[in-house]
């Protein structure tokens, strides 16, 4: 790790100001950023911690019935707060990493990072959530732009995420044996009018919606509805832990399991 200056503002406004400095970077829970800094692959001159900003903490429900999670809320806090109101989200948050990761890592950090194997992007995309920043509100469908890329501008802070609550939902995470991130993960969310299926861990383009499955499931919400569909291995990730064909297979298997569990 190189030396850096550390700031811990108490408000979003102060954070924005602090981020105006040369080579300043936000620090959420540090579960991704700190290891990268230790390896000297990132070297911010100023680290602006979002941990002291009260308005970015906690979970509440808005007038539209949406679950609103502060951008600085830890995975453990989300798991605890949504156990009744949105069990699938709670379960997802409660199975990220290990207790240390869940007690430090934040939803804002996870979404901003948009790791192709991360869990939250699947929940956000399948739920049709809105990502709220210090300057605007971005629909999930417009937020994720490929592996490690999002619609966020430099210095834009995720302050809140608003989740519409589905009638039924389930997240199936198939563990990568070493990291225990999602080798592939599928989040199925059934709403009154439609079904949304979001897949993480599989595609070279990051999290995506499996629209064929959505269409099939909207007509017949049962595992068998997916049987006739096939997932192409083109563009799927191939690495030590699984071939592209294997991941394509997992997409289908996990989708069926998620539907069965809804």
């Amino acid at each position: 790790m190189y030396e850096f200056e550390f700031k811990r503002p108490g408000t979003i406004a102060d954070a924005v100001a602090a981020l105006g400095a040369e080579e300043a970077q936000m620090l959420g829970g540090g579960q991704t950023l700190l290891p990268t800094m230790k390896q000297r692959l990132a070297a911010p001159a100023v680290l602006v911690s979002l941990g002291g900003i009260a308005e970015m903490q906690g979970v509440c429900t808005d007038d539209a019935g949406r679950i609103c999670v502060g951008g600085g809320t830890t995975h453990a806090a989300v798991a605890a707060a949504t156990a009744e109101s949105y069990p699938a989200l709670s379960h997802l948050a409660g199975h990220i990493g290990d207790p240390a990761v869940r007690n430090r890592g934040t939803i804002g950090g996870s979404l901003a990072n948009n790791d192709p194997a991360a869990c939250y992007p699947a929940a956000v995309l399948a739920s049709g959530a809105n990502v709220v920043t210090n300057t605007r509100e971005i629909a999930a469908d417009d937020f994720f732009e490929g592996m490690f890329t999002t619609a966020l501008n430099d210095g834009e802070i995720i302050t809140e995420v608003k989740f519409p609550v589905p009638v039924a939902a389930n997240y199936q995470k198939f563990l990568q044996p070493a990291s225990r991130f999602a080798l592939t993960g599928v989040f199925v969310a059934k709403f009154a009018g439609a079904v949304r299926v979001a897949v993480t861990g599989a595609s070279e383009d990051g999290v995506f919606r499996w629209s064929e499955a959505e269409a099939a499931l909207s007509g017949n919400f049962s595992p068998e509805a997916v049987d006739g569909l096939s997932v192409s291995a083109d563009g799927m990730i191939a690495d030590l832990h699984g071939s592209a064909a294997y991941r394509a297979n997992l997409v289908k298997v996990l989708t069926k399991r998620a539907v069965a569990a809804c």
Binding site: M1, Y2, Q39, R40, F174, P177, A178, S179, L183, L240, H241, G242, S243, A245, Y246, N249, L250, V253
Partner: protein
């Protein structure tokens, strides 16, 4: 009735109090006055010519004390190899130079190029980044079969080729073996990979060098399994420091699994630099550094063939193995695929003819050396896999085929140069089958099928050669060291004992088990015995801990030294009781005169030894301290039978271990709880190899699995609750304790059981899969099922 102390008791591990409460003293806990820190600049390319190492800018960076490069080590020895293998033509192996810091070329990712010593670790690292390198990249030699082809790029320009040796064993038997294959009624052939592993002890390596200008003494504190071996190798071969001017201390060590046997460049560097700079120099490995600088394990590519007659008797076995040495020869690397592997190819079976061929190959990868089991897991895996495949091809039960071919008479001289002293392979197999309820398997399989899972059962046996090793024998085989063990037993005036052992505990529990032996012999409380180990300044020359040798060899030395103590104490007791020495008996800490009611206590005798007022000074010296060196007459041969039951999810390829049972014959057992713990740990590592672990290089020599993001270590929830048993004991016939050793068994015996079970599950599920290479990750198993 379980005993509550002495041999056979499950005494609680006394060392755990400090290990579990954070009060251990590990090498990284040692900080000396005026200490500087070293950071090694390591190669990030696998193979290249080192045209220039420019340290001029870096040398001016804040805090830099001095920067060393290969040039500073020109007059210094290289890291030695402790074992010379002779090839099948009678020629010595090719042995490349191994400089402390790279000279002329870099040969693997992680090869140290320069060492920056600075006031702080961060300053050292900062300066290392400012070193300018001019490396001309060369093609990386990664695949072993490509490496030995005519015209392949050479890892070492001054060697003839990348072939370290081509070993045939027993070469004289080759023609007879080939002939037996011609005549065989059935031949089963299997090609497999025993994949490369990274040992990953919990504590990464650390070294602190120190130099005393007043006395000219050097001290090295290091994470080692064998401090005396390091003192000898580093002192005599690398730095030219006589042993009486060099002290090596290996304090608490957090696991080694073999990877801390070897003498590493960083140890030599810290000792050398401490003298050059006249101040202590410390290095602490990061986990990332460990992946590219600790010796790796396994990495064999094998073709094995088993010949059977019409009655399914094994008639011959033939193997052809490529063994990866990596870029340099690590300390014991050449012995692992040869003498620790070829000699075990008979397994538990009376196959009369065996021929083993091993080609050891240099590649642009991290050096490969002994890792828990070392050679014996590789032998067991291929043998037990090919037998399983043969059973399937012949349509016979895999247990029956094994039983039919078991060795049943002992001692048994194998065709691969070793003699098993004792064993009972049917007994461990019987015990195993009792443990696993094989008859209930079909019902369990039907239950699994209800949830769409395929269930499979796998069984195997293993044998290992432990208690390493008879010095004269290993000397003939090319070892450049003896493999005895030593102990000094010092009795204090008030009766307590300190045992200074050459064995080294890095988690095994010596501090608990060794006192059980000594206390039992004298009949006193275990609390009266303390163990000292790990410091060449206060222990006799010993060879350290590996190869399940500590109790069998080190413990035997302790027994011999304690016998000497008891003999002398009896002389003193005889004098005190005015009796004849031959009539003295020692029981429960009391000396008595046979046939009388006279007695003196242990403490009275020890006091007399140090306060010799009434003492036979004309016959014996005062004091009570004895040393013994024990050189074993043979290896010990722990053996056993293991079984695994798995469930495979055909949709995802995920393997779940439902149960795992191990029936081991370790001979006599001193502490059953410690033995059980050793087996649990071994099984975790063996199952880790079978299902999870694997070090993978890409074709450019970059290690893809270079962190825990991609190198999968076994976790508790990957493992079932083990059933372990060691009641089938045939005591070793040639050491005083009758013990065989248990440290490696679990890791040796478990991989084939797991793979056999998975193949069984897939075959039952109608998949024509005869083999899958480890690790049996979900992706690989699914791929095998789906072409």
């Amino acid at each position: 009735m379980p005993k509550d102390s002495g041999i056979g008791a499950s005494s609680k591990r006394r060392e755990d109090v400090r290990f579990l409460t954070g009060t251990g003293n590990y090498t990284d806990d040692i900080n000396l006055n005026g200490q500087a820190y070293v950071h090694f600049l390591r190669s990030d390319v696998a193979h290249g010519r080192l045209n220039k190492v420019d340290t001029s800018v870096a040398a001016e960076m804040p805090g830099v004390v001095r920067i060393f490069t290969g040039a500073d080590f020109e007059g210094v020895g290289g890291l030695p190899c402790g074992w010379q293998v002779t090839d099948k033509h009678g020629n010595p192996m090719q042995e490349p130079a191994h400089p402390v810091l790279a000279q002329g070329k870099v040969r693997h990712v992680g090869d140290p190029i320069a060492a920056v010593v600075a006031e702080t670790a961060a300053q050292a690292r900062n300066a290392a980044e400012a070193i300018e390198l001019d490396i001309e990249e060369l093609p990386a030699v990664i695949d072993m079969k490509e490496a030995v082809k005519e015209g392949a790029t050479k890892v070492h320009d001054d060697l003839e080729s990348n072939l370290c040796y081509d070993w045939g064993f027993v070469e004289e038997n080759k023609a007879a073996v080939d002939e037996a294959f011609e005549k065989a009624a059935h031949v089963t052939t299997l090609e497999l990979v025993n994949q490369r592993l990274v040992a990953n002890p919990m504590e990464p390596r650390v070294a602190v060098g120190d130099y005393n200008r007043a006395t000219g003494d050097s001290t090295l504190y290091t994470t080692s399994q064998n401090p005396h071996v390091i003192r000898l190798l580093m002192g005599a071969f690398v730095l030219g420091i006589p042993e009486h001017k060099l002290r090596v201390v290996a304090p608490d060590v957090g696991g080694g699994f073999g990877s801390k046997i070897f003498h590493y460049a960083e140890e030599a560097f810290c000792t050398f630099a401490a003298k050059a700079l006249a101040r202590p120099v410390k290095w602490t490995s990061s986990r990332s550094e460990a992946f590219i600088s600790d010796a790796h394990g396994r990495d064999h590519v094998t073709k094995i063939e088993l010949a059977l007659d019409a009655d399914n008797n094994f008639t011959a076995l033939r193997t052809d193995t490529y063994a990866n040495m990596g870029a340099y020869l690590s300390t014991f690397a050449p012995s692992v695929p040869t003498w620790l592997h070829g000699t075990l190819m008979a397994g538990n079976y009376k196959t009369p003819l065996i021929y083993v061929n091993v080609k050891a190959v240099f590649t642009n990868t991290v050096a490969v050396d002994a890792y828990r089991g070392a050679g014996r897991p590789e032998a067991t895996y291929q043998l037990e896999r090919v037998i399983d495949k043969a059973a399937r091809e012949l349509g016979v039960d895999p247990v029956d085929l094994r039983r039919q071919n078991f060795i049943t008479e002992f001692p048994y001289a194998t065709p691969v140069a070793v003699e098993y002293d004792t064993g009972d392979y049917n007994a461990t197999m019987d015990r195993l089958l009792e443990m696993v309820d094989r008859d209930g398997f079909e019902a369990r399989a039907a239950e699994s099928a209800k949830s769409g899972k395929l269930r499979g059962f796998g069984v195997n046996t293993y044998i290992e050669a432990c208690g390493i090793a008879p010095s004269a024998l290993v000397g003939q085989l090319g070892a450049r060291a003896g493999l005895y063990e030593s102990a000094t037993v010092r009795v204090n005036a008030t009766g307590g004992l300190v045992v200074m052992t050459g064995s080294h505990s890095h988690g095994q529990g010596h501090e608990t088990a060794f006192p059980q032996v000594v206390a039992d012999m004298i009949g006193i409380s275990e609390d009266m015995v303390e163990i000292v180990h790990g410091d060449t300044a206060n222990t006799p020359m010993g060879m350290g801990t590996y190869g399940s040798r500590s109790l069998a060899v080190g413990g035997s030395a302790i027994v011999r030294a304690t016998e000497k103590i008891i003999n002398k104490a009896k002389k003193i007791a005889a004098h005190l009781m005015e009796a004849s020495e031959g009539d003295i008996e020692l029981k429960d800490g009391q000396f008595t005169v046979a046939g009388t009611d006279k007695s003196v206590a242990w403490g009275d005798v020890t006091l007399a030894a140090y306060v010799p007022h009434n003492y036979p000074l004309e016959e014996i010296e005062p004091g009570l301290e004895e040393t013994a060196f024990y050189d074993p007459a043979n290896f010990t041969y722990p053996a056993g039978a293991y079984a695994c039951e798995v469930e495979v999810d055909p949709d995802t390829g995920k393997v779940t271990i439902c149960s795992f049972a191990a029936a081991d014959d370790f001979g006599n057992v001193v502490n059953p709880m410690i033995v059980e713990g050793q087996v649990h740990g071994g099984l975790a590592q063996g199952i880790g190899q079978a299902l999870l672990e694997g070090a993978v290089y890409d074709e450019n020599g970059q290690l893809l699995s270079a962190s825990y993001m991609d190198y999968a270590m076994p976790r508790a929830d990957d493992l079932p609750s083990f059933q372990v048993d060691h009641s089938c004991a045939t005591p070793c016939t040639h050491n005083p304790l009758g013990v065989k050793g248990c440290g490696e068994a679990g890791a040796i015996g478990s991989p084939p059981a797991v793979v056999n079970a998975v193949v069984d599950a897939l075959q039952r599920g109608g998949h024509n899969v005869t083999h899958i290479d480890m690790p049996l990750s979900p992706g690989r198993v699914w791929q095998a099922m789906n072409g």
